[in-house]
């Protein structure tokens, strides 16, 4: 499981303490680069299936569970994870990851995040 969630949690806590500016952008960038890299290495296996890439994220231990739903021009990714729902840095990391993955598979989306209790819903809307 690689202790990824613990690693991100401890990193976020320390950076929030020592950095003057917001750390959201740092974690967004980390997620985006990670997503881009995963899209590159897993493209043959996952193709354009977002759920396939997210299952790798789940297997690494970063997120507990997720659900992907497509409605008209938008895709809803529900991440069922208390840590993602409660931490701005974790949300930025996952939002960046989704941006990196979708960009890596040739899609352009606006991505927003909304907390719903213990879940976080990421809405991916096709860029016009």
């Amino acid at each position: 499981m690689y202790l990824v969630k613990e690693f991100v949690g401890v990193s976020a806590a320390y950076l929030d303490e020592v950095m003057r500016e917001s750390t959201d952008s740092v974690f967004y960038r980390v997620g985006e680069k990670t997503g881009t890299s995963l899209a590159r290495t897993q493209q043959r296996e996952c193709g354009k299936d977002l759920g396939c890439y997210l299952s790798v994220l789940k297997k690494s231990g970063l997120i507990d569970d997720f659900e992907v739903k497509t409605e008209n021009e938008r895709t809803l990714v529900t991440v069922k994870d208390r840590d993602v729902a409660s931490s701005a840095d974790m949300r930025s990391l996952v939002r960046g990851f989704l941006a990196g993955i979708t960009h890596g598979i040739g899609k352009a989306y606006e991505i927003s995040a909304k907390m719903e209790g213990d879940k976080c819903v990421f809405t991916l809307t096709t860029k016009k």
């Binding site: 690689y2 401890v10 990193s11 020592v18 960038r29 980390v30 897993q42 790798v56 994220l57 690494s60």
Partner: protein
């Protein structure tokens, strides 16, 4: 404390851990504008994680701690000698990035020194001497007790 670390081919989920560590190092370097500052921050993050893991899992010995890190896929240890100086021979660290120009194991070094600090109630510092990314076949660390 010495570490010898070899590269390996990664599984997709392991790649996530590896990429997050690598990309956080790069982001820290961009934000601080200094490799030295980024390394110091990464070491401190690793150390905080090491202390947290030691507290949470109530490690009594370094052997127990190493076994936990192995079970969680952070590294594979071939040899461990404890004493005044603890020597560890390790392969397959999750932090290894073949082909990177960055020295590695900033976090792993921190994690191990954090665990040593918690076990011994003394201050430890990790010093990275060699790594595959600068042409060496293995990574080598010295984790030293700092006498104040």
């Amino acid at each position: 404390m010495r570490f010898y670390i070899d590269n390996k081919k990664m599984k997709p989920d392991e790649l996530i851990a590896n990429e997050i560590m690598k990309n956080l190092k790069e982001a820290l370097e961009e934000v601080t504008g200094s490799k030295g500052a980024a390394k110091a921050i990464a070491n401190k993050i690793g150390k905080n994680l090491g202390v947290m893991l030691a507290e949470k899992n109530k490690f009594r010995t370094m052997k127990e701690a190493i076994s936990f890190l192995e079970k969680n896929g952070l590294m594979t240890v071939n040899n461990l000698k404890t004493g005044e100086e603890i020597e560890v021979v390790a392969k397959n660290t999750v932090e290894s990035v073949p082909g990177s120009d960055l020295p590695l194991c900033w976090f792993i070094g921190g994690i191990l020194s954090g665990i040593a600090e918690k076990l011994e109630s003394e201050t430890y510092l990790a010093r990275e001497l060699k790594c595959p990314e600068v042409g060496e076949s293995a990574c080598r660390f010295i984790i030293e007790r700092i006498r104040i």
